[in-house]
Structures are given as C-alpha cells and as structure tokens.
Amino acid sequence: MRRTNWLAALLIAPLLLLIIGSFLMPVGLTLFRAVADREVAAALPDTSTILAAWDGQRLPPEAAFAAVARELAAALEERRIGDVAQRMNFERTGLRTLLLRTARAGDRLQAPYVASLVALDARWGESETWLMLQRAGGPTTSLYLLRAMDLTRGPDGAVMQVPDDEKLFQTLFIRTLWVSLLVTAICVLLAYPVAYTITRLRAPWSSVALTLVLIPFWSSVLVRTTAWFVLLQREGPVNDALIGIGILEAPAQILGTRIAVLLALVHVLLPFAILPMHSVMTRLDATYLRAAASLGANGVQRFFRVWLPLSLPGVAAGGAMVFLLSVGMYTAPALVGGDRDQMVTWFIANFMTRDVNWGMAAALSAYLLAMSGAVIALTRILTGGTIQAGARA
C-alpha cells in the first residue's frame, strides 16, 4: 500500500509542480501586488528611512531634503524614476511632474536643500507632500484595495469616499454584478425548458437537439462574439431584418449598447446552463413521477412537487457556472459593448496594458477572485457538491 502511494505521488507531482509554478504562484503574486508598496522605498531608500523616523509635524529635517534631491537625480540618471513617479502620481495627480522636475534640476540644487527645493517648487514646502512620501514608504499599502472601492485616505489617514466626480469603481462593480445576474437569470429561464424538452424527447430527436447545444458549446467564444459583431452592424442582417418586418424605420446602433452585450453573453453562456441541467435530469428517476401519478398528482403537481425540486441541483450548478463565467468574461463585452458597458475585466486589462498600473489591476483582480470564490462556496453549500466546470471562455 505504501508503495502504491509513493507511485501515486510520483505520478501527480509533475502536474502539481506545473500548476503551482505557473498558476498558483503567479496568482499569489498578483494578490501580493494588490497590497505591495515598494516603488518609493526602492528608488528613494535613504529618503524613506529618514521619513520613517519623522514625526509628521511641520517639515522633515534638512537631511530628508538633501536625500530626496540626490536620490531623485540618481534615479533619473539610471532610468528607474518611472515607477516612483507613477506611484506618487497615483497618490495625487501632479506629483509626477514635481518629482521629474526635481530630478532634472539635479546639480542646480544646493545646500541648504530646504531653501533650494522650496524655491524650485512650493509643494516641497508643504508637509502634506512629505506625508504622502512617508505613507508610500511601504512595505504594504491599502491604497489600491481602497481605491478599487472608490475609497481613499484623508491627510489624517482616515478612510473616506473619493470625490463624486472621481467615483468609478462602485458603479463598475454594481454594473458587473447586475449584468451577470441578469445574464444568469435569462440563461436559467431559457435553459430549463430546453433541458427538460431534450430529456423528454425520444431518440433520435434528443440526440439531435443535444448536438445543437454541444456545437456552440465547442466553438470558440471569440468566433461566436465575432458573429454577433457582424450581425449587429448598422448595415448588418439584424438591422435589415428589423426594418424588413417593420419594427424599425432606419438602422439602429445596436453595437456598443447594453443589448448587444446581453445578447452576446447569453448566447455564449447558454450551453453552460443547459448541459448541467440536462445531465441532472437524465439521471432523475422516472419512478418518482409514476409514484406521484399513482397517488393522484396531476401534471402541474408532478412538475412542481417532484420534477422541479429534484432538478434543482442542475439549476444551481448551471446558474453558478454562468454567473462565474459572466463575471470573468472579457471577450464579449470588449468586442460588442461600448464604454459604458464594460465590466471589471476590461478595467483590469486597461490597468495592465494602457495605464501600466499593476497595483490597481491586482486589486481589481483580488476582488474579482473574491467574488468568484464566494459564488463557488455558495453553490457548494446549496448543492453540497462541486461545480462541474467546462469553461473555455
């Protein structure tokens, strides 16, 4: 027996190592990045050390001014000032300019540094600038996680809401949840009668119908979303048809609207709702129905008191799968949605590639993971089983 276990461990180990190394560790690193704050300490080590000992009253000592002037110039020289400038600019817009201007001043800054820095830019004379540098000294920060919820810290360090015109993420999360819930509801409502009918159909019709569900299930999300992109164009077939039957008078702009996103998402995710329901229903014992009938239950009673409760695990599994995939879906909204229809995923992508703000991308990822985890946990509690995944979104 022990030998078998050794063999089993030997067989599992390679894949386990691969998953740990190229999946679990990267995801862990992302979660760590959501709270990590190392840019300032890395670029301005001496300044950080001096500021760490500063009590925050009035202005820091001359040594801090000297250190920041020297270290910023050195960081510019060695071309690694970008990270710290970006980090501080995220703390307050405009700090990037301050840091770059100071770094470029280089040799022109002379002792006493307090005077020459303040002469260069009055913001060096404000203790708030220094407080922000002190707060960014690391090694961890709640800045990104707070900002991803439209929260920030005031000068005194208390958590507060960001100004209304900068609010973005609360709406974003509510929109993501709302769209996902709507898609899940539509998918479950459409999938249930289909799964029921397929289960009750006779061969070969049941196989034919099931194949028509499996074909979209197997084809790629991008292909299906592209199809909607083509169909929904201004001069596309859907507009033509709507004008043809007299619903529309002129072509409507459907692409870039919420309707387009919902259509594409429901189309992409519907098979993920039908298949688990169908698999639960085929295993459902028909003798229960006969028993109910022999006890005098009519069709409606048989459905609501026997069939529906017994098929609920399939509904829960399918609904959870659709919700999970919908929350994490990037392709469909990115392609057919407008700016106001984008979900958390789009912002993660943007923070990564356009803004190069990895802290924000990581914080949003952390919340997205938490949402997914909560859905999985909830489904497990409700159905007592695992979700049968089959996602290729």
């Binding site: 894949l15 386990l16 909607w228 077939p237 033509d240 990581a362």
Partner: protein
C-alpha cells in the same frame, strides 16, 4: 408519463426557438463567408471563395494559423501526459486530501481568465518568459490540463483495479504495469482529454492576448485585431474554419465517448 399537449407544444416551441438562437449566428457567419462582395448581407447575392483565397494567401493569416497549430500541438503534447499521469495517480493513491488535490489541479477552470492572464503576465515577465513560445505554451497548458485530468479520471472510474494487481502478481514493475495495463484500457478517455486540450488551446484568446509577444499572433488574436481594425469577410472565413475545427473536435470526442461506453458494456 406524458405532458399536457399544450405544455408540450409550448416547451417544444421554446426549445426550437432557443436552439435556433444558438445556431443562427454561426450559420450566418458560414453563409456570409462565401459572400461574393465585401457587403455582408443576408440572403447572399452569389457565392465565391475569394475570402478563403485571401485567407490562404495573406501572410498574417497564414502565420497566425501556423502559430495557432504550433502552440496547440505543443500544449497537447505537454498537457496530455501530465494530466493522464496525475489522474492515474489520483485514482491509485490511498491518501487523505485527495478531493483538495483535485480542486487544486482544476482551479484554473473556475478562475476568471483575465485574472489568470494578468497574473501570468506579471509573473512570466519576471521570469523572462513573456513573449516567448514556452510562456504561451505554459499558459495554455495550465487552462487545458484540467480537462485532461477530468476526462481520464472519468474513464478510470470504470477501470478494474484487479487488472493492475494481476500484473503486479505476474511480476510487472509498477510503471511498466501502468503503461501496459492502465493506458491501453483507458485510451478513449486519454484521447478525449487530448482533443479537449487541443481545442482549448486553439480557441484560447484572453491569455494569448496578454502573454504573446508582438509577433506571436494566433488565429483568435488575429481575428480580434482584424475585427477592431476593419471588418472584412476574410475574418468570417477564418471564423468558419475555426468553427469547422470545433465541429471535428465535437465529432471525435463524441466518438470517443461512445467507444468508452462500449468498453464498459463489454
């Protein structure tokens, strides 16, 4: 036990509509890809293969197809043995925490792809793997391998462990016994896992978008870029060809499923 005729009519009507909704966009793409002009209108005004010719002669589409197949083949070669070995190990082993291990190995399936992609983008660039073929194959393998594990685990449920004991009693060493007893008896599951891994890699888009280097265009990535740039029926030809691949994968996987089912009956 029959449903009320009216209920049956309603249910079948809904089913036909929903299945029509599922199939229609794909059929439209297939039809439009044979359009003789750049206009994408239904019903088509003629038939032509010019967009397929364009696909086969345009350098970027040919390159994207080649890249896609290179990555998919490499992913399948990496994912199939790793996933099969892990599934056999999970079936053979008698230890605690097996359920946890299965969850861990299939975690990439329920993690939002964008989070996986972002994380790999961070981590692989630290490891110097971003923009490399190896990085892309590793990324695809992570999301493809759970399908192999699940497919092989499913066929192993019907594998008679006594066969392995018999092999051992006849003096076979453990590893050769697995290769010569377990693998031949579960090959439909292993093949189905391989098909799923190949299909997953061929269709994978989000991870590719972030991990691939400037020159590493796969078919989905090229399609996405082209759609955003300028919509031509060539994209629809590419979509139709990918769709055709999915149909083949579906056929093969169904054939393998039937084969596995027959094995059990016998």
């Amino acid at each position: 036990m029959r449903d009320h005729p009216l209920a049956r009519l309603l249910l079948r009507g809904t089913t036909v509509l929903v299945l029509g909704f599922l199939m229609a966009p794909m059929l439209a793409v297939v039809v439009l890809s044979f359009s003789p002009t750049e206009l994408m209108v239904l019903p088509p005004r003629g038939f032509s293969l010019r967009w397929y010719e364009d696909f086969l002669t345009a350098g970027r589409w040919v390159l994207a197809t080649r890249n896609s197949f290179v990555v998919a083949i490499a992913t399948t070669i990496l994912a199939t043995p790793l996933g099969t070995a892990a599934a056999i190990g999970l079936q053979l082993g008698r230890f605690r925490g097996k359920a946890l291990l299965v969850t861990l190995l299939t975690l990439p399936l329920v993690t939002p792809y964008i989070v996986t992609a972002a994380s790999m983008y961070f981590a692989y660039s630290l490891a110097g793997l971003s923009g490399s073929l190896l990085g892309l194959v590793l990324g695809h393998t992570v999301v493809a391998v759970p399908f192999v594990v699940m497919a092989v685990l499913a066929t192993l449920q019907t594998f008679d462990a006594n066969l392995l004991r018999a092999a051992a009693s006849l003096g076979a060493a453990p590893l050769p016994a697995i290769l010569r007893v377990v693998v031949p008896n579960t090959w439909p599951g292993i093949a189905a896992g391989a098909v799923f891994a190949f299909a997953t890699s061929l269709d994978e888009f989000v991870i590719t978008l972030f991990l691939a280097g400037p020159g590493q265009f796969t078919l989905p990535r090229q399609m996405y870029a082209s759609v955003r740039e300028f919509l031509t029926p060539t994209i629809l030809a590419a979509a139709t060809l990918l769709f055709l691949c999915s149909l083949i994968f579906l056929l093969v996987s169904e054939a393998l499923r039937l084969r596995a089912a027959r094995k059990v009956v016998r």
